[in-house]
Amino acid sequence: MRSLLAFCFCALVRLGVLLILCWTYSGVMAAEPVDLGSEEPLEEQAASDALWLKVAAPYIDVYTGPGQGYPVSQVVEKGDLFYVLRQRTDWLRIQFLRGASLHEAKRAMAETGWIPATSLKHVTTATGEALTWSRRGADSFYARRWEFGLGTGSLRGGSVLSVNGAWSFTPNLSLEADIGQSLGRYAENDWLAWRLVHHPYPNWRYTPYLGVGWGTFHTKPKTTLATTEDRTDDFWQVAVGVKSHLWRGVLVRVDYQHNAIFTSRKNNEFVGMWRVGFGYFF
C-alpha cells in the first residue's frame, strides 16, 4: 500500500509539473495571434499578407472544430477577409472580421473558426489574385528524405513489434536502422539491424524495394522454462517489400525479410519474418 501511495504521489507531482508547463505555454500562446501590424520588417509583412485571403464564393461555412461532424456556427461571405492561423489535418483555423477592410481586419480581435482546406478553391488573395493550394500529397512522398515507422508481424511463430528510421540519400537509395522485438511462446528475440535499401521505381504508386542488412540478434529463453543462457549473434538479411503513400505524411509498408543468423553452435539458423507497418515521412 505504501508503494502505491508513493507511486501516486510521484505521478501527481509529475502531472502537476506538466500542467504548470502547459499553462505557462498557454499564456504564451494566448498572447498570439494578433498584431500583424506595421512594426514587422517588410519581408515578414509580405509573408503574413500572403495568408490574408478573400472569400470569392457566395459564402463558406465556418465550423466550431476541425471536422465535418462539428456544428457550423457562422459563415464568411463573399468579399470577407480572413487570416489562416494554423492547420490541423485538412482543416484550417481562421480568424475573420466580417465586412472589414484589410487594414481594419489586421488590427481587430476578430472571430475564429475552422474551414475545410478544400474550401480554398473558393478563395483569392486579399488583393484578388487567384490562389493555388500546394497540399502535402504524393509529390512529397516521392521526394521524402526521412522516414520513421512502426511495424508488427511474425517471426518463427512469435509476434513482432519494430521501430525503424530511414534516410534517403538519393531518390533510389536509403539507409535504414531497425530495432525490433519478437515474442514467442518459448523465447523472445530482439535485434538491431542496419539496412541499405534500393527503390528501383521510386515514382510508382506502390514502390517496391529490396534491402540488404546486417545486425545483431539476441535470443532470451522464457524465465518460466529451464534456465538456458541468453545468446547474442550476428546476422545478415535480405529484404523485399512494397510501400505506398496513404494520407498526408503517412505511408504503409509490407515486407518479408530472410535472416541468416551466424550462431556459435554447429549450424547457422535461417529465419523468415513478415512485417506490416505504418510510417511518417518528411
Binding site: F7, L12, L15, L18, R88, E129, T224
Partner: protein, 227 residues
Amino acid sequence: MSRSGCLKRFEIWPHGLRCFGITCCALLSLWVGSAWADDTDTETGFYTPTVATQDIREAAIDTEDFELGSFLGLISVEDFELGALGGVRVAYHANEIVFLEASAARSSAVDTAFERLSGSVQLIPEGENHIGYYQLSVGVNALPGEFFWRGRRAWNMACYALGGVGVTTFAGDNYFTVHGGLGWRWLLNDWFAVNTTVQVQTYETDILGEANTTVNLSWLGGVSFFF
C-alpha cells in the same frame, strides 16, 4: 418653339454623335484586336489568358497534427490486485478521423491476495511485480460535437475508439499484447485537451503455472497538447 423645329434639332445632333461613336468603336476594336493577338497562341490560335496566381504552401502554415500527452490511471491485473498506472503517449492525426498512437506506461507494484494474506510468501520477486507496457494503436475519432456548460460556454469534444498491439512486461517476461479501448477527448482550447480512456489488454501468460489468457482492464485520465 414649333414641333418641327424641335425634331430638326434632334436629327442634327444624333448624326454627329453617331459619326463620333463609329470612329471610337473602330479605334477600340483595333486596340482590342492587338491586345487579343498578344495572348493568342500563333500555332494553335487558342486564347491563353495570363492570370497571376499566388501559391500557398502547407509548409507556410503552422500545422498541429501531433498530440503529446501524459496520463494517470488504474489497472486491474488478472489474478493480482489493482495498481496505479502512469504513462506518456504521442499521436499523429493523419486526418480528421484516423490517428496513430504510441504509448508507454508503468504501474505500481501489484501482488496477489495470497501473498498479502500469507505475509511472508512472495510469488514474484520485488522489482518485477510492476506491470509495464508499450503499445502501438490505430484510433478512430467518432461523435465529434460540443460540450456545453450552463448555456454559456461550449467546448469541442469527441469520442474515439482505438486498438492495436504492444508488449507487456510483468514478472520478468515480455508478452505480446492485443488491446482495444474507448475514450473521450475534451478540448479546452484549440491545442490543449483532457482525455479519458478505458481499455482492455489481453495476452497469454503462464506466471501461475499453466498457460491462460489474461485480461487486464485499465482506466486512464490525462492531458495532452497538439503541436
